[in-house]
Symmetry: C2
Subunit: 238 residues, 2 copies
DNA sequence: TCTTATTGTTCCAAAATGATACAATAAAAA
DNA sequence: TTTTTATTGTATCATTTTGGAACAATAAGA
């Protein structure tokens, strides 16, 4: 069954850019609708009976299987030219439906963009009944996304780059415990430039948000690095 | 005539926080709907046939008479509890209309917030046919605003405070030519704290975005300050 | 001419950042 | 066991940015 008009708000939707980090590359989740060749960001309509943020969380869960992830609103997109009914028709057709010309889903939509940074390894995205697949794609090698979704990704990247300098958001891309080198790699990948090791280490440690744990013995012939974790207590006492 | 359903998008609206600076205080524009006692931010519905930003600009012009002002999107508000049909009913009643229970304007609305910084003196806001009055109110002495409009103002303030450190937005609140002292006062008022004169002057001048003009002789018994203006050329060559 | 308030600048101290050097080490090689 | 190698954690010093105060330059009134 397709989404019904009276369950959702008209003319407003959400789209999410969900980032993961492989250790080498920054990736995002992209889903492919069945029999349509259409690639899209996980997005959807907004339930009438929920707060915007809750509706988005619920939508993300249905689209990706991901639960309890932190979502941050970053921009709302409302260009006229983003309202093309064709992609929606194609998607519906791929699911075996032929939409009437006056179907509410073919109307103009303004979409609210959210981003999330999650642990690439602790998560197994699951396609739902509408989508063929949901997969990680490198930021530098995305499939052609439908509508203005590429612009949405670009804007999300812009925003996380500036947020990275203020909040320790990079930590969400890593496992609970991580080395300084891994955190530096996250920053370098997002900012797309090399950082000086000593300066980076000093800056992060001076932020006083990390707890130091045991050393990590990798078997390599050199000094073992310490493991760190994000220290919630230190943050709250600020 | 009330706004008609087929001209506007459903469930989405905009609201604007328009800042002005008197020389002493930061103010915003608040309008009062006729015979209703309802105070609100200039806002409205979004025309189906325009880009979001253009629709907002057009709406602002109709509400306030202000033309060609720069608007910056800052947040989209979608809490469930902001959807109370009562205020809209009261406003309609004040205009001599009784809305049916299923009228589209009584439905839930998600609102997109925009802010603008304009020159308090070069502008004469005009009420339109729906509003009784449109007036400047000090940030610290607002009338009770309808719905969640006070939260919207708060968020706008938060955003301009952080933007102030990055972009030279304070300049928009001043006339074409201004003294360093005036610009400092703008920053102090927005940030709500005193700034050191010498440090502020150096920081602003080092940004290399100002053109220096003739001195301003005020008649006071002391050294006359230079006038400055925003230098668009210097910005573009960056 | 002297006084007063304010402005533009300079100067020095303090803090943050950039860049390099170096000691500590984990494990393999000699 | 000792030496070697790569990498990590810090210390150190230079450079840049910022904080804070001092001071000379002035516009106009006393």
């Amino acid at each position: 069954m397709l989404p019904s008009k009276n369950k959702y708000l008209s003319n407003v939707s959400f789209d999410t850019v969900i980032f993961g980090f492989t250790g080498e590359e920054l990736k995002i989740l992209v889903l492919e609708y069945q029999n349509s060749g259409m690639f899209a960001l996980p997005g959807g309509y907004i339930r009438r009976d929920k707060n915007l943020l809750d509706a988005v969380k619920e939508g993300v869960k249905r689209r990706t299987g991901l639960n309890k992830i932190h979502l941050e609103q970053f921009h709302t997109f409302g260009m006229l030219k983003r309202s093309d009914p064709e992609p929606t028709k194609i998607i519906a057709r791929g699911l075996g439906y032929e939409l009437e010309e006056d179907n509410w889903m073919l109307d103009r939509f303004i979409t609210i963009g959210y981003y999330s940074l999650i642990n690439y390894n602790q998560v197994k995205p699951k396609p739902n009944k509408y989508s063929d697949s949901i997969n990680w794609y490198s930021i530098n090698n995305l499939p052609p996304l439908m509508m203005d979704h590429e612009k949405i990704v670009e804007k999300a990247l812009e925003v996380i780059r500036t947020d990275l300098l203020k909040k320790p958001i990079g930590i969400n891309l890593l496992p609970e415990k991580f080395t300084m080198k891994e955190l530096q790699k996250v920053h370098e990948t997002i900012l797309n430039k090399k950082l000086r090791r000593t300066t980076f280490q000093r800056k992060i440690l001076n932020m006083d948000i990390l707890k130091r744990h045991e050393k990590l013995f990798t078997g390599a012939a050199n000094k073992a690095p310490y493991l760190y974790s994000f220290d919630k207590d230190k943050i709250e006492n600020t």
